[in-house]
């Protein structure tokens, strides 16, 4: 009888539970708590948290290669590079490039904010990560979740879960991480700089931008094609103003559906054996470092441009060069308002913010070209 009970017990998942799995449950529950109670990137952290729980339930087989349900989402959605580009289609449909086109010099702030990506990459490989892993860790500094997942799936799938969680966590913490750096690197008078009113952008310009930039960027860095192509297609839908149904679908239904199928498998890649390692701590530290350096380099580049320019740029705008859209732009606006209540920087900050998205995709494309 006891043998039968034991045999029965062994058919349940309880028999195979390990302390590591319990730790992973705790991590999953913390992410769910942050999403529900603190509203930290809930659209992603909620399914990621639940995915972590599911991946650490023994015998569930959900991540069993070729058979598990969530493994299929992961394989066909992420490994086949379908979901991140679809997210970019939605992002493109949601993005207004007007502020960028009205003030094109702000493009450089989006480039300046990629410095952190490369410095973190360099440090990571000095610490001992291989080049592909170092690139995946560095891209966290771009603060762009889908790009991080895209690069990780291509270069270091074993780091996908931890890098994605780090990227989304830091994106959620933009209002906490960025303001001290912004205040440290700028004076009160610099924060008070008011941006000159920019020209009106005509419709043709907005229509041409996704076409011209797709051709240029894809010709220059073919590896960035999946993300750039879909990003610009979404934007073309938006600016063409003749396919409203497609624009709405890309912005809403499609974006929401693919978000579900992105978060769950990303979380499910984080099982106790792959996640509970000392290197994960380094990933989070290096990711944070990359993000801090990206913020600082954007600000410092704006100050550098001001040395040679008659039309001064408020250096706070440089912090929006990371691609956490629109959170980084909102933070710039808030910090600017603290210095001068009538200084409205939000629209100006959207310029470097969307340039940062393009910059991070280009940085990922360059990594793929050199290391893929």
């Amino acid at each position: 009888m006891p043998d039968q009970i034991l045999s029965l017990y062994k058919t349940t998942g309880f028999f195979y539970l390990t302390p590591g799995m319990a730790v992973m449950w705790l991590i999953g529950l913390i992410l769910i708590y942050l999403a529900v109670s603190k509203n930290y990137e809930p659209l992603l952290l909620l399914p990621i948290g639940f995915g972590i729980l599911l991946a650490n339930l023994p015998l569930s087989g959900l991540m069993e290669p070729n058979e598990g349900l969530i493994w299929k989402f992961y394989h066909y959605g992420i490994q086949w590079e379908i979901i991140p580009p679809l997210i970019f289609l939605g992002l493109g449909a949601l993005t207004d490039f007007g502020p960028l086109l009205a003030n094109p010099r702000l493009i450089f702030l989006g480039a300046g904010a990629q410095v952190g990506v490369y410095i973190a990459f360099f440090l990571a490989q000095v610490i001992g990560f291989d080049l592909s892993e170092a690139a995946t860790i560095g891209i966290i500094g771009g603060a762009d979740g889908p790009t991080t997942i895209f690069l990780a799936a291509n270069l270091s799938p074993q780091l996908l879960g931890s890098c994605a969680v780090a990227a989304y966590s830091y994106m959620a913490m933009v209002p906490i991480i960025q303001p001290p750096i912004m205040k440290l690197l700028t004076t009160q008078s610099e924060r008070k700089i008011r941006m000159k009113k920019v020209r009106k952008v005509n419709r043709l310009e907005k229509l041409f931008f996704p076409i011209v930039s797709s051709i240029l960027i894809i010709l220059l860095i073919p590896a960035s094609a999946p993300l750039i192509a879909m990003f610009m297609l979404g934007n073309l839908f938006r600016e063409a103003k003749v396919v409203e149904r497609l624009t709405n679908a890309a912005q809403n239904e499609l974006m929401n559906i693919v978000t579900i199928f992105l978060g769950l498998p990303v979380g499910a890649t984080m099982n106790a054996e792959t996640f509970l390692k000392s290197e994960v701590i380094f990933i989070f530290i290096l990711g944070l470092f990359a993000f801090i350096i990206s913020t600082a380099s954007g600000i410092l580049l704006a100050k550098f441009i001001n040395l040679f320019s008659k039309r001064k740029i408020n250096p706070l705008l440089g912090a929006a060069g990371v691609s956490a859209v629109p959170m980084a732009a909102r933070v710039v606006h808030k910090v600017g308002m603290e210095a001068d209540k009538r200084n409205y920087l939000l629209m100006y900050a959207m310029g470097p913010n969307v340039a940062g998205v393009i910059g991070t995709v280009i940085a990922a494309g360059v990594f793929l070209t050199l290391l893929g």
Binding site: P104, R105, Y118, F122, L131, E205, I362, F367, L370
Partner: protein, 45 residues
């Protein structure tokens, strides 16, 4: 290490070059579309 330095330098230069090219294309597009708009207005007038 040397491979890391190569990726570091060429990566930074690659991003800078691509963004500079994007900047130039935006400026050219602005000029071209402005010219097209003005021609259209002139024709209509």
């Amino acid at each position: 290490m040397s491979e890391g330095i190569t990726v570091f330098v060429s990566g930074l230069l690659g991003v800078a070059f691509a963004m500079a090219l994007l900047y130039i294309s935006v400026r050219i597009t602005a000029k071209v579309t402005d010219f097209m708009e003005k021609s259209k207005e002139k024709n209509n007038a």
